[in-house]
């Protein structure tokens, strides 16, 4: 074989391998869409067909929205993830700036604590935080869903590393203009930190939109359910009888993040692999 032939053979092999892998990875998504498009009678059959004979996607969506208050779950998901991210920024940004650019007693200790806190897995603190919230009487509320995640040690670390790279002259100039230290954080540092904040925002929103463990622990009320809890409870109520609407509900829960991902892939991959640093 000449090198040219070899490279063609290799190229074909590469695509063949990657395509078959891709088909396997996509299979659950395709099957979800396929099932959501089928009427009941086509779902409970042993013959495998991906394209439905009669198209029932809209009916299934309608049933899902009707039976499972999907709008409410989406709204809750939006409120919770947005509040968490806003509070994380509000708390982490000043701390990150102080750790990066200001000298104060205990700075090194505090930074060591931040690094340590990054390593604490969320499951580890669940029981004491649950007991604390029980004592405070705020279980089963938006607050219970939001408050535990207002502090992101990882966010502080990430923004501190970013601020470290910013020139001191910029800050000095702002001080000359009479801007206070807090003013510097929001008016000078924040605008320059948008790329890093976007990555962190994606990381935070994806993590909390998809979180199941904590909402499951603190929630009782149906009207507070976040998307994962909502779709899980819909599944429990239907108990394996109504797969069309259930798959339609799964599409609705998955769609916001997947659509956002497809629109801004690079940013999303950047943001989510931030956990790699963790």
């Amino acid at each position: 074989m000449t090198p040219r032939h070899r490279s063609i053979v290799w190229s074909v092999a590469r695509h063949a391998l990657l395509l078959s892998g891709a088909a396997l990875v996509l299979l659950p998504f395709l099957w979800m869409i396929s099932t959501a498009s089928k009427p009941q009678t086509e779902i409970f059959t042993k013959s495998i067909h991906f394209i439905p004979y009669s198209f029932a996607l809209w009916d299934n969506f309608a049933t899902a929205f009707d039976k499972a208050t999907l709008w409410r779950f989406l709204l809750n998901g939006g409120v919770v993830t947005a509040s968490i991210f806003a509070l994380q920024v509000l708390i982490a940004l000043p701390a990150a700036y102080a750790l990066a650019k200001l000298r104060f007693v205990g700075r090194e200790v505090l930074f060591a604590l931040v690094l340590f806190c990054i390593l604490i897995p969320p499951q580890a603190t669940a029981i004491p935080v649950f007991l604390l919230f029980h004592k405070l009487g705020i279980l089963d509320s938006y607050a219970a869903l939001i408050v535990p995640f207002t502090i992101s040690a990882f966010g502080i670390f990430l923004m501190r590393q970013f601020f470290k790279t910013m020139p001191d002259d910029l800050i000095e100039a702002a001080r000359m203009d009479g801007i206070s230290e807090f003013g510097i954080v929001w008016r000078v540092m924040l605008p320059t930190a948008i790329p890093a904040l976007t990555a962190f925002g994606i990381f935070s929103v994806v993590a909390h939109w998809n979180d199941y463990f904590w909402p499951l622990i603190v929630l009782n009320s149906e009207h507070l359910r976040t998307p994962p809890l909502g779709v899980a409870s819909f599944r429990n109520e239907e108990a394996g009888t109504n797969y069309g609407p259930l798959m339609a509900a799964a599409i609705v829960i998955i769609a916001p993040l997947v659509v956002a991902f497809l629109l801004a892939q690079r940013r999303f991959i950047e943001g989510i692999t931030l956990t790699g640093i963790k």
Binding site: R14, K46, A95, A98, R103, A124, V231, A232, G240
Partner: protein, 315 residues
């Protein structure tokens, strides 16, 4: 230069009139600095460090949610745990899960990354497709998997019947439930690992491949063995540890699909901890289980930093 200048200038200044302004200025910045870190520090103590110490302390008590009092019972929770059959099943299942998911998800992630990097076309497409399961809400995709694994109407058994095999009741069969969950775990973790490996591959200097070529390393395997694999060392350690920690945390799929069943065959640590703490409200015992989980996660983290310090680069 600037440093020496200020060092020379400072004592002179301090002795003269400039002393007061410079002091107040630095004072002015310590106060805002402390005000800036205070909320973060308080919340860190309240929501992370405190609860971490709390869970350890709790594991030495018999506290149950709602009971008016509790007492220190030393290691009794741990003794109960070691005597409990469910704990050992749960631990064994978790370790089995980790032992299957970590190597598979790491090897597949690496294989996909290498395949994507080895050619020029459709890179972004493949990357997007393989990354999709990472993004998608695991609870929702778990429910899709459940339907695919349905004994009668599922796609998997349908395909197996098509090629003449007997199917399984995957999630309802104690021989297969845990392995079915492993497959979902691998499916979800693969794309994340692929992206980390892609980043690692891009950072390998091209000259190394040229140098290896000159030294007689011909063919893809020789290049991989002599350049790619050693240079990916730190990335690989990292990916293994991350996947390991995440696999120890496995909960969502278990809770939605099997509840640890049938007959405990897919019971895992965090699920046992959840049931004990939040369904039976045996907080003390749940805390002891959490501590065991923490020890494993800590071990993995230590392995990572130990290997990172040794410079796996040249291993």
């Amino acid at each position: 230069m600037a440093d020496t200048l200020t060092a020379v200038a400072m004592p002179a200044e301090r002795d003269t009139v400039a002393a007061r302004p410079s002091q107040t200025r630095s004072h002015n910045r310590t106060r805002p600095a402390l005000a800036m870190v205070a909320p973060a520090f308080v919340l860190m103590c309240l929501l992370l460090l405190g609860p971490l110490l709390g869970v350890i302390a709790l594991s030495f008590t018999d506290y149950q949610l709602g009971s008016p009092s509790f007492s220190w019972i030393g290691l009794a929770n741990y003794q109960d745990m070691l005597a409990d059959r469910v704990f050992w099943i749960s631990l064994r299942n978790t370790l089995t899960y980790v032992a299957i998911v970590v190597p598979s998800a790491v090897a597949l992630g690496l294989a996909v990354a290498l395949l994507i990097e080895s050619g020029g076309s459709l890179r972004a497409w493949y990357r997007t497709i393989y990354f999709l399961p990472v993004m998608a809400t695991l609870i929702a995709t778990s429910i899709v998997w459940e339907f695919m694994l349905h004994p009668q109407f599922g796609l998997i058994n349908g395909l197996l019947h098509g090629i003449g095999f007997e199917g399984f009741s995957w999630l309802q069969d104690r021989r297969t439930a845990l392995y079915a969950l492993c497959v979902i775990g691998i499916w979800q973790a693969l794309g994340f690992n692929m992206v980390l490996f892609l980043a690692g591959l891009v950072s390998i200097p091209r000259q190394l491949y040229d140098a290896a070529e000159i030294d007689g390393a011909h063919g893809a395997w020789a290049r991989f063995r002599l350049v790619t694999w050693p240079m990916l060392g730190p990335t690989t350690v990292f990916v293994v540890v991350i996947t390991g920690i995440r696999s120890f945390q496995v909960f969502d799929t278990v809770h939605v699909l099997t509840k640890g069943g049938p007959s405990k065959s897919s019971e895992v640590l965090i699920h046992t901890m959840y049931i004990e703490s939040f369904e039976f409200f045996r907080s003390g015992y749940g805390a002891a289980l959490t501590v065991v989980f923490l020890v494993f996660v800590l071990l993995l983290t230590l392995v990572k930093s130990a290997l990172a310090n040794r410079g796996v680069h040249y291993a």
